[in-house]
């Protein structure tokens, strides 16, 4: 703390009844706040550095061929585009599903409430991997039955390729979780807003669209970012259908050459870097969303 000695801000020397002194004192307080903040950031940065060094030591202790990792880096890296593509497509569809789901959950109608409640329950209550298998294996059987019944076009809709099945499973699963996020976001908007809108003669839908959603979205967007980060990692499950994303590529070489630690470390590092980039983007987005809150 000696480093920052004399940094304490005191009102002494200021005549706080004078508006000009008030402003100067406030400026000094703000500067002090900033200094404190960057000092804190510096300390946290040091801790991170120490943690990285510990991790480095742990990695040195592992019996791992770093040359092997280096040699296969490029091959596994190519999978990043598939991982990103599948995750982006899935989070987009999941967002739409979640919006519909939340509206259903909050709807006064039994049918919407029932359907969305059932959807959330079934897709949140079963493992994602099992859902992937059921969608990949089960839907084509329904499709073939439909074809047999004389609806070839409808039947073909049910016969999905590996990537399509993966995106559908991820979307449905995450859509169910995000339904609850959207519901909570919408419910976080004060009841008074609804009443005020109603007093102005706005309909239920108008209120939702023009009053409630713009406020709810501020709560929801950061949560979507969070789900996107989780999804990038869960997308590794689609490798079971032979989609060549990061995990699939890493796993084939791991099995082939018995280099499990090497390839799993490599895959883990790639997911980590990928999610760190997402985290950074999410932080910026959150800052932007918060702009209206305080100025």
């Amino acid at each position: 703390m000696a480093l920052f000695a004399g940094n304490e801000v005191s009102a002494a020397g200021f005549d706080l009844t004078d508006p000009r002194d008030q402003a100067a004192f406030a400026a000094q307080l703000a500067a002090h706040d900033r200094r404190q903040k960057s000092w804190q950031q510096f300390k946290v940065g040091l801790v991170w550095l120490a943690m990285f060094m510990l991790l480095g030591i742990a990695l040195r202790l592992l019996n791992v061929s770093y040359l092997y990792i280096f040699e296969h880096f490029g091959f596994v890296l190519e999978g990043i585009w598939v991982t990103l593509g599948v995750s982006l497509a899935s989070i987009t569809i999941a967002t739409i599903l979640a919006l519909l789901g939340a509206l259903g959950r909050l709807s006064p109608h039994a049918i919407f409430q029932g359907v969305s409640g059932f959807y959330v329950s079934i897709f949140r209550g079963t493992p994602l991997l099992v859902q992937i298998f059921i969608i990949y294996l089960g839907l084509p059987q329904i499709g073939q039955q439909l074809k047999a019944m004389g609806y070839p076009q409808l039947g073909n809709l049910f016969i999905l390729g590996a990537i399509q099945s993966g995106i559908l499973a991820l979307s449905l699963n995450y859509g169910a979780y995000m339904t609850e996020i959207f519901r909570a976001g919408i419910q976080s908007v004060a009841k008074g807003q609804w009443q005020a809108a109603s007093a102005l003669g706005m309909s239920h839908l108008q209120t939702l669209r023009m009053v409630v959603m713009p406020q709810a979205i501020r709560m929801i967007i950061p949560a979507i970012g969070n789900q996107f980060i989780a999804m990038q990692k869960d997308s590794s499950l689609v490798s079971v259908m032979g989609i060549w994303e990061i995990t699939y590529r890493a796993n084939r070489f791991a099995r082939k050459d018995s280099m499990f630690m090497e390839m799993f470390l490599l895959a883990a590092a790639m997911y980590w870097i990928l999610t760190m980039i997402s985290e950074w983007l999410q932080a910026r987005l959150e800052q932007r969303m918060a702009q209206g809150e305080h100025r």
Binding site: I111, G114, Q141, Q145, I159, A162, S258, F260
Partner: protein, 327 residues
């Protein structure tokens, strides 16, 4: 008003439920007729015949799991062919290498089409119901009665002896029979596991279960089991039951394991075709059998086996009576 809509909705749901419950009663009758009916709708150009569709398409779509050298493995920086008929989700032959790959490429060549590969998980291949996503599995698949429920098998293209492996330092086990009651590893869901729990039945072969009451550990792949065995004698495993070539390959890599006794049984490894195919597979199956038998007769498979395994593992597969399977 609201109440009335809710009531209407409830009535609708009840109606749906009734419909859903009555549907299954009608469904079981369908399957027999289904295959033919579905086939005629699926690909009018191919008039419902898989072989005709393959020839029209110009590609043979083969499933492979490239984690099993020397059968199938990835080529890291392949020279991609200048032009290919394989679609975006399919892979060209240049991206793989191995015995299965060479055999599959040869089959496609003799059909006069381009081989394209897909790489689904092994369980998805053996489970059947491929929904027409690929045509043929060339994945060193053992013919078993369970798999025959879901898949048609082709003339086997080679055999694999199954053998026990123990740690180098072990001196107490002298024959496979000594492993009764011990900790034995095998890949989960594979024939090796069925052998250990005494349920294995290979059509056309009488099996002698010399190891009984083994404490079985199932592994995702044989290699992870062998790794556990290499940790030390009895540390995690006393023995591992796996394919002779797999175990020998692991030893050749310099790992401290050794083979215990003679192979305990032989597996016939064949191509597989989906029984639930939306198209008629009859002529395709006959053609594949014919092609594989020709590859036995002219020595192609013998040559390939010697190239990849160092011995001719194909000889015992040629006389296998495929008609005897009564598929």
């Amino acid at each position: 008003m609201q109440k009335r809509i809710s009531l209407l909705a409830l009535v609708l749901i009840v109606a749906l439920l009734v419909a859903a419950c009555s549907a299954p009663a009608a469904a079981p009758a369908a399957p027999v007729a289904t295959t033919d009916a579905a086939a005629s709708d699926a690909a009018p150009a191919a008039s419902g015949d898989l072989l005709a569709e393959i020839l029209a398409r110009g590609t043979l779509r083969i499933s492979t799991d490239p984690a099993y050298p020397p059968q199938s493995e990835l080529v890291e920086s392949p020279e991609k062919p200048a032009s290919t008929k394989c679609t975006g989700e399919e892979r060209t032959a240049a991206e793989f290498q191995g015995f299965d790959i060479d055999a599959a490429v040869e089959i496609a060549k003799r059909l006069g089409v381009e081989p394209c590969f897909v790489t689904p998980d092994w369980t998805l291949i053996t489970g059947g119901n491929w929904a027409g996503r690929w045509d043929l599995s060339i994945g060193s698949m053992t013919i078993t009665p369970e798999r025959m429920e879901k898949l048609y098998f082709s003339q086997p293209y080679y055999t694999t002896p199954a053998a026990f492996f123990v740690h180098n330092e072990n001196t107490t086990f002298t024959a496979p029979a000594d492993l009764s009651g011990k900790k034995v590893g095998a890949c989960a869901g594979c024939t090796y596991e069925s052998y250990l729990d005494g349920t294995l039945a290979i059509p056309g072969e009488t099996i002698d279960f010399v190891v009984t009451d083994a404490e079985i550990t199932g592994y995702d792949t044989d290699t992870s089991g062998l790794q556990d065995l290499a940790l030390g004698d009895g540390v995690r495993l006393d023995a591992m039951l796996t394919a002779l070539p797999t175990g020998q390959g692991y030893i050749a890599d310099g790992n401290p394991v050794k083979q215990l006794g003679d192979p305990v049984y032989f597996e016939y490894l064949a191509g597989a075709i989906d029984k639930g195919s939306p198209l008629d597979t009859t002529s395709f199956r006959a053609k594949v059998d014919e092609v594989i038998q020709a590859m036995h007769q002219d020595g192609t498979l013998k040559q390939l086996a010697e190239k990849y395994y160092g011995t001719d593992l194909s000889a015992a597969a040629a006389p296998f009576d495929i008609a005897g399977l009564k598929q």
